[in-house]
Amino acid sequence: MTARYSRRAALQLGGLSAAALTAAACGVQGAAKQQPAAQAESAADKFWKAQKKTGTVTFANWALYIDPNHQTLKDFTAKTGIKVTYNEVIQDDSSFFAKIHPQLASGQSTGYDIMVITDGLEFSELLALGEVIPLDQSMLTNFHKYAGTPYQHRSFDPGNVYSVPWASGSTGIAWNPKYVKTPPTSVSDLWNPAYAGHVGMMSDPQEIANFGLFKIGVDPESSTQKDWEAAATVLKQQRGAGIVRQYYDQSYINALSKGDVWITMAWSGDIFQQNLSAGTNLQFIVPKEGGTIWTDNMMIPKYAANPVAAMQLIDWYYQPQMAAMLTEAINYITPVPGVQDIIKSDAASAKGSDKATLEAVASSPLVWLSAADYARLKNYVPITSKNQSTFYGIFQPVVAG
């Protein structure tokens, strides 16, 4: 009983579709208008007054920070009785934002109470869209007491209204000494044809733009559109010559460990973590032209089910003891000064391989930056809503095409 479709059937379907098409002129809504600051503040106060304490909290974070059953989380549960669910679901800001934005825009909870977002485009988009809850400043006692001054006054979130730092880190070059015999020192080493097919670059346009700009000797913080185009040319050259194997999000660490990639852009603490957990022997440096410094920040997404518990957990990490345990685990820059001394004394009282690890952390130049290091490390290119599409139009085709 087969009926080959007739022209009539096709036309019928086509006609119906055309009719529906003209009817479907609806678009996708954008952000709701933001309230002026004073109104927003009292709205936040009202919000926090209405919240109650709860017994669980869900924490969305990047992989290669702490483990889901890290001591800091266990201590938190022991002290407050709040159960923590720790999900390592973030691999880069843009894909995570693309996942949560449609949900938040439709009024649905993401299921997360705390999320960790880097200071970049997605951070400002979340603010512009009103998709994060302003923090309850009255619960940030440890933060105000112990956090270092630069971390209490960050330009991308003045007054710490929406976020506090989780950790800061640097983007540099990591390599596998098994395959790369001469330790790299410069950004140009990523362009070395000897490593063709085994070089990794990051897929985040903000990260890769900085390295392109370093290559042509321009400071990202004061770069212009002409500089961007020149950087993109140099990056496309690198790609066209077959030097880049792939553009990675955090998965560069996997490729590097397996030996598929020999040298790659990398985040400082990831290498430390991977060596510890997988027994690899990877190395990391900040190139002499410069590296990128970024801050990952804890934020509370809209419609979070447990905002009070979230605030408790956020402030928990600003106790010096907890901050020290965190830094010992992740080997990233801490917003709490005085942690270095705690780690040094921990190292003194430890034994065996633990002692060596802690001593390494206590003296790591990647965690305790000198003034010279700070001078070399640059932030991302400052993007505003005006130049955003230009910037992305220049750098997205480099990684996506």
């Binding site: 529906a20 479907a24 678009g27 954008g30 952000a31 693309a98 996942k99 085994h198 792939q246 598929d260």
Partner: protein, 287 residues
Amino acid sequence: MKRWRAAAVPYLLILPGGLWLVIFFAIPVIVLISLSTQQGNVVDGFTQTFHFANYASAWDNYHDQFIRSLLYGGIATILCIAGGYPVAYWIAFRGGARKSTYLFLLLLPFFVSFVLRTVSWQYFLSDNGILLSPLKSAGILPQNFRILATGTAVVGGLTYNYLPFMVLPIYVALERIDPRLVEAAQDLYATRAAAFRRVVLPLSLPGLFAGVLLTFVPVAADYVNAAILGGTGNTMIGNIIQDEFLNVQDYPTGAALSFMLMAILLIGMFSYARALGTEEVLEVAAR
């Protein structure tokens, strides 16, 4: 009265399922087309401006990936035919009582998630993995040699994942051929090669075409293989669409690319259906 009811029965039966397909298949496609001419960004929202230039700019930026997808699709399909036709032939004509066992073995891999299978290939073909490491230590291959992050790996992965989709339709068509026809040809002094060429092959063509359809369309639209096994020069149009929707959130460009892909493949699909009818494909899907 009864005749009315009797006539209404098929429509009533189709109604729930048909409605579901209309709401969640037909209408979303229309929304997709509508989205492709919109402009805007995530923060400000997207509005319908009938901006057909979206298609032009999408093509400008990504025509390489389109052509590459069709190319990979073609090569993988040809490889599937080359690899799969002999298998289908053997099972149909020489399988005997064990035909279903062989088919079962062929479909065995589908019990494991294809993402997991493709990732297993990534581990297996890794630069210093199980396959290449001993060859490199023995000096047979240079240190620099790699299979992953090349077009070969991607096409290999595509062929691997879609081979059974080619074998099944060909098998179905071959199984229907009366073996006495081949005998008759040979009685008339045809060589085995001639018997195949002039009897079996023409009769299997509908199955072959069904297999081409069931292979080429999903292969050209695939992105998992390119993402897991490929490198910078191997991205397919599926990767771009996925990136636009799930990363960059440039919905109009993603929608334009998606529609263009669908249109290109649709033209092929429907000319096929027009020429050969939908029967073969529906029958194979029922297996």
